[in-house]
């Protein structure tokens, strides 16, 4: 096997046996596992790290540790930006396709400010970036970073702007300037916070490399639509001693969109499938380029930036620089990012059965929903946030939403009638009224016939449940 072929097998096909062979095999349980084999299995699944095995960290096991590290290291390097609690990790991808394992380190989103912005606007943008938050199935979706651009070409102004931003946020920074002298003023201002440098190019790479090693900051390489140059630059910079690189093959909002997708795809395949270490670094996309060449209203640029961002999140970007702070631009993208970075090995469905929400009594409403995880969690969160006390039957629809499962007959009146019996709900409440999802309205007649319960058709969306109950629920 050539080295290339060996590397090809690296990402997904690591066997716990191979890992086990290199572990101390003492079964000491210091890691909290029953034995070394169990720990090996968890290592392969990325549920623990090598550092969780104390004996492995001892001097005599140094060799084994190194081999294991090499075996388990992701084909896309993990790069840390920022320091301490506020550091963010990007890259660290083990696979090209999420179904092959799972994606780690969700795409970091940075919002730009410039050194020519009036102070009020600058601080407002920083604050809005920090405060951005959307609660989605029990998670807080947020933005991650601030990108400071030098548009004034005045290095002092850039430095003082970086300083100002740092005083007002704990988010990690990207410093954007192609002029090394301007960059250095930014780095001096940000010297304890390990910002990401943007960017080394064909022209300035040597100075940027010096700055990157001097200030110990990760460095972005910018080689728009030229992967040979990109690869040459990474080779040069690695040789120079720079270890933490980020790759920007160029984000083309208009003509060249297909080249952009092509480049991102080739880089990721080369890294994950062919073990190309020169391209095994996080990828940066800059949807802010949607604002270049744009004519017409701001909404047009925002619209373009919104969908360009989504394409980049899907096609392998590990970090993005955006301009729009508008909710409708960001919301679909932070949700898309959450979706694609969930663990695809987790089931789509929750367990069917009766859920007791709040403190229901014999007069409390009885409702049902399907066992599709997202449907269930949405309904549950609406009921809880509305402080409703009720019984919720979760019916097995094969893990499909209400509307689709009614259409596809995975959710039928028979199943509802059966659930009413099986859950023993009749013993828990005095009434015989069942509230059904609005999207299952067409089943109401049949349910009444089969079960003998009176059906009330609930709202089309579970956000309407609290209001619905307030207006309609009487026993």
């Amino acid at each position: 096997m050539s080295e290339r072929e060996i590397r090809k097998t690296r990402a997904k096909e690591i066997s716990p046996i191979d890992v086990y062979k290199l572990l101390p095999k003492t079964n000491c349980k210091e890691c909290g596992e029953e034995n070394c084999m169990a720990f090996a299995a968890k290592l392969v699944n990325r549920e623990v790290t090598l550092e969780d095995c104390p004996p492995l960290l001892k001097k005599e096991n140094e060799e084994a540790y190194k081999k294991l590290w090499e075996m388990l290291k992701p084909p896309v390097k993990e790069v840390t930006i920022g320091t301490g609690d506020h550091a963010i990790k990007i890259g660290g991808k083990l696979v090209m396709y999420r179904h092959e394992f799972t994606y780690f380190n969700p795409t970091a989103i940075a919002i730009d400010v410039t050194d020519k912005m009036p102070e009020e606007e600058l601080l407002d943008r920083v604050k809005r970036t920090e405060d951005f938050q959307y609660e989605y199935i029990g998670q807080d979706l947020r933005l991650d970073m601030i990108a400071v651009r030098s548009t004034s070409k005045d290095s002092k102004l850039f430095g003082s702007t970086v300083e100002k931003v740092l005083r007002n946020t704990s988010l990690p920074l990207v410093l954007c300037a192609f002029n090394p002298e301007i960059m250095e003023d930014g780095l001096v201002a940000a010297q304890k916070s390990r910002p990401l440098i943007y960017a080394a190019t064909e022209n300035n790479w040597k100075d940027m490399a010096e700055l990157s090693s001097m200030y110990d900051c990760p460095l972005t390489v910018f080689a728009p639509n030229n992967l040979k140059l990109l690869r040459s630059l990474t080779k040069t910079l690695i040789d120079y001693g720079i270890k933490d690189l980020v790759l920007d093959p160029g984000t083309f909002p208009n003509e060249g969109l297909s080249d952009m997708i092509n480049n991102f795809t080739m880089v990721r395949r080369a890294a994950c499938k062919e073990g190309d270490d020169l391209l095994g670094f996080p990828l940066m996309g800059t949807p802010i380029t949607a604002w270049l060449e744009h004519k017409g209203t701001a909404e047009v640029a925002m619209w373009k930036e919104a969908y360009l961002t989504s394409i980049l999140i899907t096609r392998y970007a590990d970090i993005l620089i955006m301009h729009s702070l508008d909710g409708w631009v960001l919301l679909p993208n932070v949700i898309l990012r959450q979706n694609l970075y969930t663990d695809p090995r987790k089931p789509v469905a929750v367990k069917p059965g009766l859920r007791v929400l709040g403190e229901p009594d014999e007069n409390s409403p009885v409702m049902f929903t399907t066992n599709f995880a997202l449907t269930y969690y949405t309904v549950e969160s609406d009921i809880k946030s509305g402080q409703v006390n009720c019984y919720l039957m979760v019916i097995d629809s094969g893990g499909i939403s209400v509307e689709s499962s009614v259409a596809g007959r995975q959710l039928t009146a028979e199943k509802v009638a059966e659930a009413l019996k099986e859950t023993g709900i009749a013993d828990k409440v005095k009434h015989r009224k069942l509230i059904i999802p609005g999207r299952a309205a067409r089943l109401s007649g049949e349910i009444e016939e089969l079960s003998g319960w009176e059906v009330m058709v609930g709202p089309l969306d579970s956000s309407g449940i609290p209001k619905f109950l307030q207006e309609k629920w009487k026993t």
């Binding site: 396709y97 179904h99 020519k116 548009t151 070409k153 954007c176 300037a177 250095e184 064909e202 040597k206 700055l211 001097m214 110990d216 040459s232 630059l233 040069t236 040789d239 120079y240 160029g250 083309f252 208009n254 003509e255 060249g256 969109l257 297909s258 080249d259 997708i261 092509n262 795809t265 080739m266 395949r269 800059t286 380029t289 909404e299 619209w303 919104a306 969908y307 989504s310 899907t314 909710g327 409708w328 919301l331 679909p332 949700i335 898309l336 694609l340 969930t342 695809p344 789509v348 997202l374 949405t378 499909i400 939403s401 689709s404 009614v406 596809g408 007959r409 995975q410 067409r442 956000s463």
Partner: protein, 410 residues
Amino acid sequence: MKILGKEEKEGEKKAVVKFGPKLLELLSRLGEIELEDVDLEVGDLEIWLQPSAGVAAPPKVVAPPKVKPTEILEAEFVPPVWEYPGQIVEVKLGATRGEGGTRRNSLTIGGERVPAYYLFEKPTPHPPVVVFDVFDAKIPLAKAVKMHVRDVMEDPAAWAKLAVEKFGADMITLHLISTDPLIQDASPREAAKTVEEVLQAVDVPLAVGGCGDPEKDVKVFEKVAEVAEGERLLINSVRLEMDIERVAKVIKKHDHVALAFTSMDMNLARELNRRLYDFLPKEQIVIDTTTAALGYGLDYAFSIMERTRLAGLMGDPQLQHPMASGTTNAWAAREAWMEMVPEWGPRELRGPIWETVTALTLLLTGVDLFMMMHPAAVKTVKEVIGEMMSGGGGGRGRPEKIAEWVTLKI
């Protein structure tokens, strides 16, 4: 000047940085030539310039000297091109007069030999088709959609005409929801009449959807297939719970195409195709493995489609079909249609961008046919498809166009 060995790097670097000498300023004072000389002499050693220290300490050599590059080290880039044993079948939708129908054009989808938009391997053989949803009875629509079709909602023929002429639809899906036994229970004959009206009103290829009731749908499709013989309709959809033999035979007899719909399960998709192969050639089957909305299961839909396409290309003979997506399902997401606090923007923008993002995410898995609803989403998806189809040579992304984004004034 002080030159340190690697060992000392960690501890001393911080000190150096803390006093903040400006490296580049110093370098320019030293001059480029001098620096290069130093490089060559001490090689791999890190260079630290600390004017405040004043005196240069002797270098501590810890590793064999290595020269730092002074020029770009040229590296090759070879596109990572693979070969795939499988190919997606080509399916033709719609038929012109010469082909036995009455459409102005037919549309061919499928034929892929490489994953979606791996243009460094092969160009995409046919552009994906964007189909506009039209309903034959009043249904609740999101406000952002309704505002565009309000005047035609009672008239499917006018609705179809509007979609083609104003919104640029490549094709129409007529959903015969009036046939639902639990609602209007329109007869197959009435439904077929509506199909004829729409075929009269527009000359693009047509897909015809049922109401979701497996028994009623078969009856409706039988009648529709008969009246539209030779038009190569896309029958939306054939499902496992149906009388597959009956519906497949009628599709074959009158020369239409089956949209084989399964719910997010590759095994079910294979099973349905296997059963259809008894009656239909592969070239008359398009598959739909279910589209869930962004935020409501899109990740599942995405991965099932991505896996399905890759499996087909890797040689799975039961999954080598063009893929369709009911992208309209994006509107099931409350974030698409609900009034929210102002910070999330007007739903007139949130809704269509939701549909757009859902479509583009699935476009990248290889979807060949999108059934959509909002004019702005349709327009954007068509534009992106247009750009994807014109690419491939690698020369369209001109570096100078984006090189100066850092100093862009917004």
